[in-house]
Structure formats: structure tokens, C-alpha cells
């Protein structure tokens, strides 16, 4: 067991720290709509200009191809600098869509999309969940009928983040008529300007508009936009989820550990008080969560259930941290402010991307080997 850094690593850290210090925007990112898009793309473009976009992507696709150790350094410094949350409207493109295209896309798809993503020129959204298929993704019913060299898509997606400001969507649909569950699905690139698409934004409980419903009425998508093989979309999608659960999580987890420090500074609780006790535990838990993050990151080989433990630990810790913030703020917790906003946003941590209940099932079944709960 060994964690150590070379002089080159230190130099890298110093470079990252200095660049972030000079370049991190002072304003808090807007939550929704066009201002959120403009802010995020401007920040990504600035990162790109300095070579900090697509840091985990391979060199050959315009990324920086950083090693896992270097990624850790970058995300540590990113969190330390209080840089804009990695979970903004560029997240899907950088952490889902891009890596999926790299893994499964055609040369044309890569050549067109990857540079635009990295340069902060296109926003992507994810079209997986449906109203009846939240935790049970494989039951989705939005379908694409093959007509000549196009898919004609009809159906309805929900919980699509940033659909209202996105250029493209990674869309999972049933393309083989009559197929069941994981079979017969395809993963396609959908241009959000296509005719027949209607986007209905959904306000969340924090007052931000991230989510939307997307309705598809005979939307025509060229077959050349299918990523991977036709009807093989589940495999492609699982690839995407694996990315989400590992690399992208680091930024969020380190961001949370910095928040705990900010909260301790804000509270300055008297020694021996109940709040000091609570904050001391949160601080220790944040340290352990970071340790889990590093171990998950450095583990080899990664498995798909690997990230479930740290993911759930993070989600519930994030909620405890923000609840403590409400108690510390006192009456001011009732008015809009960054802690209050983030507190309300934290309710999604145990819901989005697989509820805490589903995560615990995964841990019990895939990691601990307990029998699967029988579904009829």
C-alpha cells in the first residue's frame, strides 16, 4: 500500500493551484436556463484554452489523458479553489456522452462531437428515465421505428437534466419491436433541435430548473447517430453509468469535504457543545469518504458495483452536512442563500441516479452476495 507523489506531481499540483487561483470565477454559478448555460460554457472554454478540459480523456481525442493520481490532484485543487461545481450542465457531455462516444462511437461521431464538447461549444443531456421507468430503467418504452436510414422516435422521457438548454441528447430507446427488458434497446445521439421534440422544464424543490420532460412525436434521427450496434444500447448505457459512478464522483466528493470545512468555520461551535460533537463527526466522516474515494479510484480492476459504497456514503453525508448547516444558520436558513439552496438540492442525492434503496440492494446483492429480491 503506497500513496506517494513525485516531484513532477508536485509541480503539476502547483501549476493547477496557481491556474485555478487566477481563473476561478468569483460569482456563484446561476442555477437554471440560459444564464446557467452561458456561465458553464464560458468556464469550460476557459479551462479548455488552458488545457484543463477533458483531463481524463485520452490525448488522441483532445483530452489530457491524466493518470488517476493526477486526476486526484486536479480534483483536490479544484475543490480547494471552490471552483464551480462539476455537476453543472456540461457534466453529461464531459462525463457521460463523451466517454461513451470514445468507447463505443464511430469515427465520424467522435470527430464531430468530441472537439465541440471539450471546447465548451455543446451541451448534452441524458434521456434514459421515463415516467414508469425510474428505478426500473430496463422497462422503458420510448421506441424508435427503423424507416429506411432513420429511426422514427415516439415516446416520453423524464428527469432529463438541462434538456431546455441542451444541443444533444444521449437517448436510450427500444428499437426492436416487442423486445423485453434489456434486450432490443439502442443508444442514439438525438439533436435537440429536431422537429417533433417538445421540452417541458420541471422546476425542482430548490427552485432551480435542471430537469425536464421530453416528448418525442415522430422525431427522425439518422441511423448513423446510433452509438454502438443497433439494439445493443443497454451495454452502451451501462458503460456510461460506470463512468458516472467513478471518475465524475471524485469532484463532487472532494467538493463536499471542502464544504464541511467551510461549515466548521461558519459555526465555530463552543467545545463540548452538541454542535461541536456533530461537526467533529461530520469532519471525520468526510475524511473517511475521501479515503473511500481514493481507494475506489485507485482500485484495479474496477467493477460496476464498486462505486456503490462510496456513492451512498457520499449521498447521505451530503444530506447530513446540509442539515447541520440549516441548524447553524438559524433563522437565516429560511431565506435564499447558497447553503439553503444546496440544502434543498441535497435531497436529490438519495434519489437521482438510483435511489438509496436501490443502492443498498446493489451493495447487498452484488458486493455481499445476498440473494436477489424476487420481482414477479
Amino acid at each position: 500500500m503506497q500513496i506517494s507523489f513525485s516531484p513532477q506531481d508536485h509541480a503539476f499540483r502547483r501549476t493547477a493551484r496557481e491556474w485555478l487561483l487566477a481563473n476561478v470565477p468569483r460569482d456563484r454559478a446561476p442555477h437554471s436556463g440560459r444564464p446557467a448555460r452561458d456561465f458553464a460554457l464560458a468556464w469550460l472554454a476557459r479551462c479548455h484554452a488552458a488545457g484543463w478540459s477533458g483531463i481524463s480523456w485520452p490525448d488522441e481525442y483532445g483530452g489530457r489523458g491524466l493518470s488517476q493520481e493526477r486526476l486526484i490532484i486536479w480534483y483536490e485543487e479544484y475543490a480547494r479553489a471552490r471552483a464551480p461545481s462539476v455537476l453543472d450542465c456540461t457534466f453529461v457531455a464531459l462525463n457521460h456522452a463523451g466517454p461513451t462516444l470514445i468507447a463505443c462511437g464511430s469515427d465520424e461521431q467522435k470527430a464531430f462531437h468530441l472537439p465541440r464538447i471539450l471546447a465548451g461549444q455543446s451541451i448534452w443531456c441524458q434521456g434514459f428515465s421515463e415516467p414508469g421507468s425510474g428505478s426500473d430503467l430496463a422497462s422503458l418504452g420510448t421506441n424508435g421505428r427503423v424507416e429506411d436510414d432513420h429511426l422514427v422516435v415516439n415516446g416520453h422521457k423524464i428527469w432529463t437534466s438541462f434538456a431546455d438548454i441542451a444541443d444533444y441528447q444521449e437517448l436510450l430507446i427500444r428499437t426492436e419491436p416487442g423486445s423485453k427488458r434489456h434486450q432490443g434497446l439502442s443508444w442514439v445521439i438525438c439533436d435537440m433541435k429536431s422537429e417533433g421534440i417538445t421540452v417541458r422544464p420541471i422546476e425542482n424543490m430548490a427552485g432551480a430548473v435542471h430537469f425536464a420532460e421530453v416528448f418525442y412525436d415522430n422525431v427522425r434521427i439518422p441511423l448513423s447517430n446510433v452509438v454502438g450496434d443497433l439494439h445493443d444500447g443497454w451495454r452502451v448505457a451501462m458503460n456510461t453509468l460506470a463512468f458516472e459512478r467513478k471518475i465524475a464522483a471524485i469532484g463532487l466528493q472532494l467538493e463536499l469535504s471542502v464544504k464541511v470545512e467551510d461549515l466548521i468555520d461558519l459555526a465555530s461551535p463552543p467545545r463540548g457543545s452538541s454542535m461541536a460533537d456533530r461537526l467533529a463527526t461530520l469532519r471525520a466522516e468526510a475524511a473517511a469518504m475521501r479515503a473511500m474515494t481514493y481507494r475506489t479510484m485507485l482500485r484495479d480492476p474496477a467493477t460496476s458495483s464498486d462505486g456503490s459504497l462510496v456513492r451512498l456514503c457520499f449521498a447521505e453525508l451530503a444530506q447530513r452536512v446540509h442539515r447541520a448547516a440549516m441548524d447553524i444558520l438559524g433563522p437565516d436558513a429560511l431565506v435564499e442563500g447558497s447553503w439553503t439552496h444546496d440544502y434543498l438540492e441535497s435531497y436529490s442525492e438519495t434519489i437521482a441516479g438510483g435511489t438509496a434503496e436501490i443502492q443498498r440492494n446493489i451493495i447487498a446483492e452484488r458486493i455481499l452476495g445476498l440473494p436477489r429480491t424476487r420481482h414477479p
Partner: protein
């Protein structure tokens, strides 16, 4: 649900009437519009004089019935102004300002809740009020709202704007640090928090019965069941303790302070927990502004800030709370 099994006929009547009034005028869905509540209908119902005698212009019910009505107010996420008016009328009358009390009871003058925050007073739901009832540390004050000095504050999500005003002695109309009034404040705040806890539970249970995943209602999954069971336990604890505290206060029993302190200690945590679990049971839709679960959560935060209960460790515990043995004489 079993929360009202011990309520008598008279209690049933006032509860049924209040349920009808609230359904007609204050459906929870109204909260989605982000407008402040108009408490006129609540006043017309007689809410704010419910426990006053008929000579005092009240309806002659007791604190027990009043508390049960405030549970229903909590279920409907009624503005905290409802608490300010119920308490403000009492405070005005105790300070010899009978006219003001009558106006409040009649819904001619509106009072909103205020919360001390350093040198300022935060008015989370100011509405049309000209007067604030400020909940301080162990005291209540009626203060005129100086429209000039007020500034707006944004509230999270869909909430109507909050106001903040400087804390100044010259606006004070009446104040009280009297134990009975403070205890009534804690009782009614807790009653509304109980209403939230119950409504959050019921919303989750109803959703779990109809929402299907993996080919069955999610209420068939043990994890969802256990969330709902936990909400039921919390609500039942609070409901029982509310009865105990309300009866003790009404009957002026010597354990009243203890019972109210116990109630007030538990109420915020249970309301917040149930609201949180209700959001979780709802999944994605629970996190959206379109479901009502988040209104319960946000309102529980507002109510939790009203009043400061006595520290329960300062009070003697009644080991035989239902009855004190009178000395033999």
C-alpha cells in the same frame, strides 16, 4: 389512521367543520402558486377566538379543540400567520388592548409571525400583515411593521417573499414573558408541526399504494414500508404527546410545562423527518416542485424556528403524570 380515536363528539364536530373549511379554501396545491395565504377565511371560521369564552367574542372551545384545529392547519400548510393571530389576540387582550384583539379575531387586522435574528426580525410569511408577533427567546412581542423599514428577502424554491425589518423598541405594541402564553405558543406550533408530520406520512402512503415499479406498487417493497412505518411511529408519538400536553394545559395541571416542553422538543425533528421520508418515498417527483412533499419540508423549517421551548431538563418530571396525589388533609 388512528389519531382521533379518543376524540369526543364535540371535538369531532369542530374538526369536521375545520376540515371542510380548509378543503374549500386552503387546498395544499395552492402553495404551488407562491402566493401568501389570505387568512380571512380562517378568521371567518372563528379560528383565532376558538378558545375564548363567548363573552370574549370567542367560540367557547378549549385549548384541546384549538390544538386539534391547528393540527389540521399544519396538514394544509397554512401560513405561520395563523399562529401569530391566535397568539396575538391573546397577547393584545392580556395587555388591555381588547379592540385590537377583537380586530385580530375578526380578521380585520392581520398579524404575521416574526423571528428574532440578531438585530433584525425576519418575517418569513409577511402577507398583508401590519403587525408582527415576534417569537423571541422566552418572550412574545406584538410589533407594528414599519413598511418603510422593511426589505424583501428571497425564499427558496417557490415560496413567497420573506421580509426583514430592524428590531426597534418603538414599534412594540405589547409583550409577554408569561409562562402560560409561551406554553400555548409551543403547543400550537407543535400542533401544526404534527399536522405536517401526518400529512407527509399520508401523502407518502397514498403514493406508495399507486406508484408501480418492477411490476408492483412500491408500497410492497419492505424498504418503502419501513419508511412509512417510521413516519407512522413518529406521528403517533407526537399526536399522543400533543393530547397529553393540551389536556394538561387546559386543566392547568402542574405537569403542563413538562408535557409542553417534551412536545416542543420532539415536534421539529419528527415533522422534518417525515417530510424528508415523504420526499424520498416519492422519488424523482418528490424532489420536483410539482409534488407537495417539499412544501411540508419547508414549512416545517419555518415552524421549527417559532418559539423557544423551555429546556425539558429544567423541569421536574411527573412520574405519575396523570394525577398528582393531593396531600391528605
Amino acid at each position: 389512521m388512528t389519531c382521533d380515536l379518543n376524540h369526543g363528539e364535540e371535538q369531532r364536530q369542530i374538526i369536521d367543520a375545520a376540515v371542510g373549511m380548509l378543503r374549500a379554501h386552503y387546498p395544499v396545491a395552492r402553495r404551488r402558486k407562491g402566493k401568501p395565504d389570505d387568512l380571512s377565511e380562517a378568521a371567518a371560521f372563528g379560528t383565532f377566538g376558538l378558545a375564548l369564552t363567548e363573552e370574549e367574542g370567542g367560540a367557547g372551545f378549549s385549548l384541546v379543540e384549538e390544538a386539534l384545529v391547528h393540527v389540521l392547519f399544519g396538514r394544509h400548510v397554512i401560513s405561520s400567520g395563523s399562529l401569530a393571530m391566535a397568539l396575538g389576540a391573546r397577547l393584545a387582550r392580556a395587555a388591555g388592548q381588547g379592540d385590537l384583539a377583537d380586530q385580530i379575531i375578526a380578521g380585520e387586522t392581520f398579524v404575521c409571525a416574526g423571528i428574532q435574528s440578531g438585530d433584525t426580525v425576519l418575517l418569513p410569511e409577511p402577507g398583508e400583515a401590519e403587525i408582527a408577533l415576534v417569537f423571541g427567546a422566552r418572550e412574545l412581542e406584538l410589533c407594528a411593521i414599519d413598511a418603510v423599514a422593511v426589505r424583501k428577502e428571497a425564499t427558496p424554491g417557490q415560496g413567497a417573499a420573506a421580509h426583514r425589518m430592524p428590531r426597534r423598541a418603538d414599534g412594540m405594541i405589547a409583550g409577554s414573558a408569561e409562562q402560560p402564553l409561551l406554553a400555548i405558543a409551543d403547543l400550537l406550533v407543535s400542533a401544526q408541526l404534527l399536522g405536517i408530520a401526518e400529512a407527509a406520512r399520508d401523502l407518502a402512503v397514498t403514493y406508495a399504494q399507486v406508484r408501480q415499479q418492477f411490476g408492483q406498487p412500491i408500497g410492497g417493497f419492505q424498504a418503502i414500508k419501513h419508511h412509512c412505518a417510521n413516519m407512522a411511529i413518529g406521528a403517533e408519538m407526537l399526536s399522543c404527546q400533543l393530547d397529553m400536553a393540551a389536556i394538561a394545559l387546559r386543566d392547568e395541571r402542574e405537569d403542563a410545562g413538562f408535557q409542553v416542553a417534551a412536545l416542543r422538543r420532539l415536534a421539529p425533528g419528527i415533522a422534518l423527518t417525515n417530510a424528508r421520508l415523504s420526499i424520498q418515498v416519492h422519488g424523482g417527483i418528490g424532489f420536483s416542485a410539482e409534488a407537495d412533499a417539499h412544501h411540508y419540508l419547508k414549512h416545517a423549517h419555518v415552524l421549527s424556528r417559532l418559539g423557544a421551548a423551555a429546556d425539558i431538563l429544567d423541569l421536574p418530571a411527573p412520574l405519575a403524570p396523570l394525577s398528582v396525589v393531593p396531600e391528605r388533609n
